[in-house]
Amino acid sequence: MEHTWRLEDILTVDYKLKVNDRDFSATAEKCDGDRLRVSINGVEKIIAWKRISDAHIFLGADGEDQNLYIEKTGGGKTIHLNGIQYFIKDARDEGMKKHPGGLKETGGKVTPPMPSVVVRILAAAGARVEKGEGLIVLTAMKLETTLTAPFSGTVLSVNVQAGDRVMPGQVLVEIDRDKNTGD
């Protein structure tokens, strides 16, 4: 494998980021040693930083030091700072996934957000459902969660029954989306 540039050649990198739902445009430029010149929404600073472990970054900015912990999560990184989590993704990524941990209802395929057991089926194949209507009730960790229709349409198939154990990615219900609706 060959690289055309070495890291030393790179002076500035541009970013368009989303922190939860806030936009940040940023640039980062390597200074000497463990320092970076960054510009965040137009404000420039020099930050000092050090990687303590794979997950742990020690960062000094504005004269104060902080310990941040970084986790790669679906489509971005979650940064832990003082007990709060910041989910950051590249705003230029096209496959805009939902916030991690959310119900992943992509297209017409309804899949559970976590391993769970099916408690009740609320919709039958062939039935029309409105957006937001309950399709299937799951239980995990002694709590019930209802998966709802991501848009209005017709139920094509229900692939599980009450009592089944289901996993994220598994398609529980498929819906044929209505034409001519805005959502």
Binding site: V19, W49, Q66, L68, I70, P115, M141, K142, T145
Partner: protein, 493 residues
């Protein structure tokens, strides 16, 4: 003392019980379900027995399997922890008939206290205050109206089959009683298939205050002070503390005496908890007795310096309480935050899965009773409680600061936890002032969202991590430190 006991539970409470056993030189047998085969309570036990699949009914709730594991391993006693079989009189009777000691109350006492109406009558007879109410469930509307008049408005209508707030109505005056009763009854009918309702005095902004008690089989009983457990979500305690900011020394003494009277009256033996409702005027009412070790028992351990599990074992082995009430005093302030695998930003949806990284806080006055470890996959079959973070400090004010630091230094990755939510509750002005009641979260934290004030720093860390990513270790050279390069010594058959 027992040589070996079986712990019929999982998670943090099983681990915590084993810790005391180990200090007492008592052998421990864990039981587990398939998804728990690498769970911390299995790793911490001396021996373990797999009960079956993940469904509680075929593992932690299977009386037959647990009894047979105890016999197989030669356990002299069973500690039930909390939840699962802990308050199941049938299980206690099985232990009694198979002559394996149940570490908890006798079945008779558990039965007596498990029936809430009967328990209430027992306490009333003893002169312990109960919430004024009317429980002749099949009476007519006229009787109910008369009773409401006697109790005094506002009153609370509750469904007999109750739970989750359904069939519940607050009635401010007589004019509203009839309509409210009708709608509550019909709601209860559709929710529970049982339209029966009853009324009791409505207590505004009540506090939940409970007393830890210990009673031996020789008739001695003491209390270990109170815990205030008013911070609740979905009727589930999430933060507990001791002492309660609401109790004066005289009220504490009065309630403590009532608690001791309650356990003596019911023939209770072992550790238990007497729960009270405390109103804003400092009047308290008996609620129920929990006939087991409570989730929040460490709060009491921290302020009294007493290991409650050790006392449970001593009492179960027939020992006499070595403590009298005068020996017991509270020092400083203790509190507990329950750390759940739930996503507080997504309506507290459960968040099972693999904990990819875990860094638990530590330091003076900080205790973590944990049931998990980094690398463990939190199963979806059970309660989302990962651990309990308990802190102890000289005063409530000092301790709140300590807890805040501990929460901020608790890093769990791969799953979501309630830590950010806890931080904001503990750090809020009404919490700090001690102005808490069971409706506290609904009042102050209904539409909670985390404060994103660190977003810019998080962006900086993202940039640094992105520009200089982690260097992955070099790929393993085939067979390095594996049998492949030491073939000389092998026999291949």
């Amino acid at each position: 003392m027992f040589k070996k006991i079986l712990i019929a539970n999982r998670g943090e409470i099983a681990v915590r019980i084993m810790r005391t056993c180990r200090e007492m030189g008592i052998g421990t047998v864990a039981v587990y379900s398939e998804p728990d085969s690498s769970a911390l309570h299995v790793l911490e036990a001396d021996e373990s027995v797999c009960l079956g699949s993940g469904e509680p009914a075929s593992s932690y709730l299977s009386i037959d399997k647990i009894m047979s594991a105890a016999r197989e391993k030669g356990a002299g006693a069973i500690h039930p922890g909390y939840g699962f079989l802990a308050e199941n009189p049938e299980f206690v009777r099985r232990c009694e008939s198979e002559r394996i000691v149940f570490i908890g109350p006798p079945s008779g006492s558990m039965l007596k206290l498990g029936d809430k109406v009967r328990a209430r009558e027992t306490m009333k007879k003893e002169g312990i205050p109960v919430i004024p109410g009317f429980s002749r469930l099949n009476a007519g509307y006229g009787d109910m109206e008369k009773a409401a008049e006697e109790i005094g408005y506002p009153v609370l209508i509750k469904a007999a089959a109750g739970g989750g707030g359904r069939g519940m109505r607050i009635v401010l005056s007589r004019e509203k009683l009839k309509d409210s009763a009708a709608s509550a009854s019909s709601e209860a009918m559709s929710a529970f298939g049982d339209g029966r309702i009853f009324i009791e005095k409505y207590i505004e902004r009540p506090r939940h205050v409970e007393f830890q008690v210990l009673a031996d089989s020789h008739g001695n009983a003491v209390h270990l002070m109170e815990r205030e457990c008013s911070i609740q979500r979905r009727f589930q305690k999430i933060i507990e503390e001791s002492p309660s900011p609401a109790l004066s020394p005289s009220l504490r003494e009065e309630m403590g005496m009532a608690a001791v009277k309650a356990v003596v009256a019911s023939g209770y033996v072992n550790a238990g908890t007497v729960e009270f409702i405390l109103d804003r005027e400092g009047r308290f009412y008996f609620l129920e007795v929990n006939t087991r070790l409570q989730v929040e028992h460490p709060v009491t351990e921290m302020v009294t310096g007493i290991d409650i599990v050790r006392k449970q074992l001593e009492i179960a082995a027939g020992g006499k309480l070595s403590l009298s009430q005068g020996d017991i005093s509270a020092r400083g302030h203790a509190m507990e935050c329950r750390i759940y695998a739930e996503d507080p930003e997504l309506n507290f949806a459960p968040s099972p899965g693999r904990i990819s990284f875990l860094k638990e806080p530590h330091g003076p006055g900080v205790r973590v009773d944990s049931g998990v470890y980094g690398g463990f996959t939190v199963p979806f079959e059970y309660d989302p409680l990962l651990s309990k973070l308990i802190t102890h400090g000289e005063t409530r004010e000092i301790n709140i600061m300590r807890m805040l630091q501990a929460l901020r230094n608790y890093i769990a990755m791969g799953i979501k936890t309630t830590i950010p939510f806890m931080i904001d509750i503990i750090g809020s002005v009404p919490y700090m002032k001690g102005e808490i009641h069971t409706g506290f979260i609904d009042e102050h934290f209904m539409n909670w969202r985390p404060d994103m004030k660190g977003a810019e720093l998080a962006v900086m860390a993202y940039l640094a991590d992105d520009i200089f990513p982690v260097k992955k270790p070099a790929p393993v050279s085939a067979g390095q430190s594996s049998p492949w390069n030491t073939l000389g010594g092998w026999r291949i058959y």
